[in-house]
């Protein structure tokens, strides 16, 4: 007789429960899907939570316009396979409307995703956005709720969050307010990779080691692309790399790696002495409190 769940079974059961609470309590939720590994775990959780029914929410990608094509192709393929509805809203549309103004042409657009997201929430009247954020990603997230309340400006107020006890999640909102629900809050990067392995989830190819032109800049590896060209005097190298996160090209850096399958990535992750964001998010290195700042402004 089976008595104990493995940690992955436990995490999965919790995530399914959270997703069903969203479906049960919220009238118009949406699942934020980028094609990244965390949101791919969310999709598998949603399948386990709602099949054979349809998902009780559409998927939505907030597109910065600075993407690796492999990730976008993968995103579209996945949506077709699942036979679910995908909404794409683009930072470039916000720029055209004048609601996003860049400070310079190739400025990283991650922080402007908040604006486009809030515009989309308003357009569709979403009362809940399901996201793949995890508490282990960054210090400011360690105190994040599983159901995180945002006011009508999309702002997160760390001092005005609802206490969360047992597994009783309060996702109630008034008109214009919004809940960000994080079903995999309690997962670590390692849990995500172990889950990907167990469920045999397919990932965009850039997660696995491949040859790529890069430059080394201020200790980080910067991929050479149209929007991140080499500066004068910088040497372009072609080395084996993989991405630990995927997002806007201008602020997502790869790591040197020969890990070309999930097993090898798990081993590397276990041995790694650098956090996921530390290694690969060029925008988080600025200040210790930068994530907290962005979350207050409506980032998810």
């Amino acid at each position: 007789m089976q008595n104990e769940l493995s940690h992955l079974d436990w995490l999965e059961a919790e995530a399914i429960h959270i997703m069903r609470e969203v479906a049960g309590q919220c009238s118009n939720p949406v699942l934020l899907f980028s094609g990244g590994k965390d949101s791919l775990c969310l999709l598998r959780i949603a399948e386990k939570a709602f099949r054979p029914g349809k998902f009780p929410f559409p998927l939505m990608h907030i597109d910065t316009g600075h993407n690796y094509q492999e990730v976008i192709d993968f995103r579209d393929k996945k949506v077709t396979e699942l036979n679910e509805r995908l909404i794409v809203r683009s930072v470039e549309d916000s720029m055209a409307r004048g609601t996003v103004k860049l400070n310079y042409e190739l400025e990283p657009r991650n922080k402007y995703q908040s604006i486009t997201l809030l515009e989309a929430i308003d357009e569709f009247k979403f009362d809940c956005c399901i996201g793949g954020a995890r508490r282990d990603e960054e210090k400011a997230r360690a105190k994040e709720r599983i159901m995180s309340f945002r006011d009508s400006f999309g702002q997160w107020d760390p001092k005005n969050q609802r206490p969360e006890l047992w597994d009783l999640y309060n996702a109630m909102t008034h008109k214009g307010e919004n809940i960000r629900a994080f079903p995999i809050s309690n997962w670590t990067e390692m849990d995500v990779w172990q889950y990907i392995e167990r469920e045999q989830l397919e990932l965009p190819s850039i997660y696995f080691a491949h040859k790529r032109d890069i430059i080394r800049r201020d200790g980080a590896i910067v991929p050479v692309t149209d929007v991140t060209p080499p500066k004068d005097g910088e040497i372009v190298e072609n080395i084996m790399v993989r991405f630990r996160t995927v997002g806007d090209i201008t602020c997502t850096a790869p790591v040197e790696s020969h890990a070309d399958d999930v097993q090898k990535i798990i081993i590397e992750t276990a041995e790694s002495r650098i956090s996921e964001r530390g290694a690969t998010r060029l925008d988080d290195q600025m200040s210790e409190a930068s994530m907290e700042q962005r979350k207050k402004e409506g980032y998810f």
């Binding site: 769940l5 105190k143 206490p163 009783l168 956090s275």
Partner: protein
């Protein structure tokens, strides 16, 4: 089941002065969960503050505001793993005014680490932390006598604290019918002595290190041995599907909050009291024969009975009470005091009901544990009350079942969660 590992959730009780943040930092550091870039950042901060050594407590001080004030103001969750177990630490501040945070942290914990400063011995807060942990239904305790390096690793001091703590523990008459386990351990979190490593300083202590104790704490959800409780969260009826086979498909989605259930078992749906048997159990598209707590599954029944979100499937004989009136101990979480004239909402399992607080019996002074007569309930108060509901809930006493005995109170003008409650006398 492809893995034999497990998951344990625990809380750490103590204040910054007891070295709590240092202890957590030490657990993360020695279990190699802290990564070098994070370490670089706290090294920088330590130097900025003029400290000579790296301050491990900086690892757990999360938010800007509290870093500036040097205090922890909310519950933070930390993670580390060993080859056999994943751990989730709920870290809450120890100060008296943060009773509500400790209650929040303890609500999901299976074990509590009670920190005691060897120099100071048992303090008022030790009693408070033990009381609140017991009140929230925790029955596995680790009492860590910290800062042994500052008392010359004196065994006598440790022994007298152990003795005094046992008396204190037995004197707190909460959750009397349950079995408790208590482990005592002398420790220096600062030096990493008896946390993960066993250094040379306390050869008189033959017991396990803290991590060894944690590895052996019973993480098995005792819930799976309780009566079957299955609050329905969502009903799946994919009628409009192109697939004809699904036209009459109807499954009840939820989490096995306690107990276990097999295909063929008889069940009852509450509050309607209709009976049926289990036709099939799924996780996603995978058929399983048995579901155990806390799995999230999807259940098909052999009879067509009307069941919706908020209803509960249970076994036939050992059923919860269907009640609109009950006594409860609550912790008031909101800055705004209770208004007894108002109607609130309660959330209990997957059910929401309108509620009034019909009586306030007394409040508990969390420092002396004495009963105080009062008509007001304010932030951080622990109070015994009677609740009156507009719609019935299916519940058990909290100490028999934490999942079906707990509820939160919501203020529907703000939608804030204003209180947490534990049902203790159904009738």
């Amino acid at each position: 089941m492809d893995k034999t590992d497990s998951l344990l959730r625990f809380i750490t009780c103590g204040s910054v002065d007891d070295g709590k943040s240092t202890l957590i930092g030490r657990l993360l550091y020695d279990s190699k969960t802290i990564l070098s870039d994070t370490l670089n950042q706290i090294e920088k901060t330590s130097h900025k503050r003029g400290l000579s050594a790296v301050d491990l407590s900086l690892l757990t001080d999360g938010l800007q505001a509290e870093r500036e004030q040097g205090i922890t103001i909310d519950v933070a969750y930390r993670y580390f793993s060993t080859p056999t177990r994943k751990y989730i630490i709920a870290d809450s501040p120890g100060h008296e005014q943060y009773t509500r945070n400790m209650v929040t942290a303890a609500s999901t914990a299976q074990a509590a680490i009670i920190l005691i400063d060897a120099r100071k011995g048992i303090l008022t807060q030790t009693k408070r932390h033990t009381y609140l942990s017991k009140l929230l239904g925790i029955n596995q305790f680790v009492v860590a006598v910290n800062k042994m390096d500052l008392v010359n690793y004196d065994q006598e001091i440790f022994n007298s604290i152990v003795k005094e703590y046992k008396a204190l523990f037995d004197g707190i008459s909460v959750n009397k019918n349950n079995q408790f386990s208590i482990n005592f351990i002398p420790m220096s979190a600062l030096n990493g002595d008896m946390v993960v490593e066993r250094l040379e300083n306390m050869s008189w202590y033959q017991g396990d290190t803290l991590l060894e104790i944690l590895e052996n704490v019973d993480s098995q959800s005792t819930n799976s041995n309780l009566a079957f409780r299955y609050p329905v969260q969502y009903v799946c009826r994919p009628r409009d599907s192109e697939n004809k086979e699904l036209h009459d498909f109807r499954s009840f989605m939820g989490r096995v909050e306690s107990g276990r259930i097999q295909v063929g078992d008889k069940i009852k749906s509450l509050p309607s009291n209709q009976e049926s048997t289990i036709k099939a159990i799924y996780i996603g598209d995978q058929l399983i024969n048995e579901a155990i707590s806390p799995q999230s599954v999807s259940i098909l029944l052999n009879d067509e009975i009307d069941i919706s979100r908020g209803d509960m499937l249970t076994e036939l004989t050992n059923t919860p009470s269907i009640t609109k009136d009950f006594n409860a101990t609550i912790c008031w979480l909101s800055e705004e005091p209770l208004n007894q004239g108002r109607v609130y909402k309660i959330m209990h399992t997957s059910k929401i009901a309108k509620a009034k607080i019909s009586s306030i019996f007394d409040k508990i002074d969390v420092n002396t544990l004495s009963s105080i007569e009062s008509e007001k309930i304010e932030t951080n108060d622990i109070a015994n009350i009677r609740v009156n509901l507009a719609q019935p809930i299916m519940s058990d006493n909290y100490f028999d079942n934490r999942k079906t005995g707990s509820f939160i109170i919501v203020d529907d003008s703000t939608n804030h969660t204003v209180a947490a409650g534990m049902i203790n006398n159904i009738n």
